[in-house]
Symmetry: C2
Subunit: 268 residues, 2 copies
């Protein structure tokens, strides 16, 4: 089943997608809900981010070929992490498909894409075993973990490197029926495939991540876990580029890159 | 003016506090709202966390005497950060006043308190100058940035060290009329004052933090910025301890420490 969240003239609402139609839903997929009977054409709908997460988790450093590539380009360590330690992102940075990625005017660059599978939690859960871990997942969407590499290595935290406004495209839809451990994710820049990997290559699979996270942390409906990217994340992005993250079951997350003017008082 | 958020038999709602009374409010302080005319006694109310933040920011390393103390006890650097780079915490960890702090059963310790002033954002804002920065603030509350120092220095991120469930007590109220740059914050453990500092000692004041944050990031109503702690954060906490963070205008954030049994499958 496919779920979306979209804006119409009245409000932002959830919908169930069937073929080219969106069936409007009252309520949320995580709680009580019902179809209203109203429908819209998917092709002309204004899709919003499919969920605003109460908590926003990200598995950095979760694919060996990405670590190897980063070691070569940025001189970082290629050693895999010993444990599934979670990172955080922030909802301010979320934008939906078809919404621009805006590089801040004073970015020192390079700015790069990271195509990722995203798990959306469906029910409150704590203390899950690996065997039970996926029972708390509602579905899956795609994320682009846009990263300003200059700030990533220069700042004390990842705040603006990974969480500047518009740096977290997520969407287009949530697909509920999907095996998270065997998904092909590909990235195109201006129509050319520049990245392609399978989630089977993850250092820590989703069951391991959820089991470890939920040992200390209660998961809530709508929380998201971004699973990391593999391989190189080149070419560096520039204004005008069109970035598409694709998975056969979920669809295409499509965002054009812009660059803001340097704002007064900026600089560092 | 003082605002709170509390649970009654029907729901969780905001209220305005006057003397020992809570006046129930329909709506939120950040949007349209009105007093319903219903009132409760503050002393018998079940206070909840005063706001669930859409985005949760924290200024680590923001007081020199805290850096000096940590350098002595943990061997960390005493150099102040060059810029106000934000950290993140996660709402899963929030608990209100009078709710227990639960140390995970497999904690390696030490676990410590950090008493902090917390700014609550009142309106959407971006690109604020230092001069205009405080105009977006709705009010102030208190936070206890509970930290598992063993995990803080061992893990790749601060996820469980700072964000394990119950590790972020916040409250008891929001005070809207207060000068954030001249507030005395004190901490008592089992009735004895163990920490006391003035926010005037901050390396980066709130105006600087908001101005820098809002250069890249849109602030939203309900977002919180925790401003960091000063000095030592000892003694180490143990089950049974009562931790109180106090400010004359805001009140007392009071939480008792418990320790969970070791959960099956835990260990590291």
């Amino acid at each position: 089943m496919k779920w979306c969240r979209y804006k119409d003239e009245r409000r932002t609402t959830f919908g169930i997608v069937e073929d080219d139609l969106i069936w409007e839903v009252d309520g949320s997929p995580f709680h009580e809900h019902r179809r209203t009977g109203r429908q819209h054409h998917l092709s002309s709908a204004h899709l919003d981010v499919p969920v605003i997460p109460p908590n926003f988790y990200a598995m950095g450093m979760n694919f060996q070929k990405h670590l190897d590539w980063a070691a070569g380009r940025f001189g970082t360590s290629a050693s895999p992490p010993e444990r599934a330690d979670m990172g955080y992102r922030s909802p301010n940075a979320l934008v939906p498909t078809e919404s621009p990625i805006v590089i801040p005017g004073d970015s020192i660059g390079p700015v790069q894409y990271e195509g990722e599978l995203v798990a959306v939690i469906g029910r409150q859960a704590k203390g899950l075993s690996r065997t039970d871990a996926l029972n708390c997942v509602f579905g899956y969407t795609l994320g682009n973990d846009v990263s300003e590499r200059g700030w990533q290595f220069k700042d004390r935290t990842l705040w603006r490197a990974k969480n500047s406004d518009t740096f977290k495209p997520m969407g287009p839809l949530i697909e509920t029926d999907l095996d998270p451990d065997h998904q092909h994710i590909s990235v195109r820049v201006n129509g050319e495939t520049v990245s392609a990997f399978d989630t089977a290559e993850a250092i820590f699979d989703l069951s391991t991540c959820i089991s470890r996270l939920s040992r200390y942390i209660t998961l809530f409906p709508g929380d998201v876990i971004w699973m990391g990217t593999d391989g190189a994340t080149e070419p560096d992005l520039k204004a005008g580029d069109l970035v598409e993250i694709e998975n056969a079951a979920i669809g295409i997350l499509r965002n054009r890159v812009e660059r803001a003017a340097v704002s007064p008082g900026a600089g560092d």
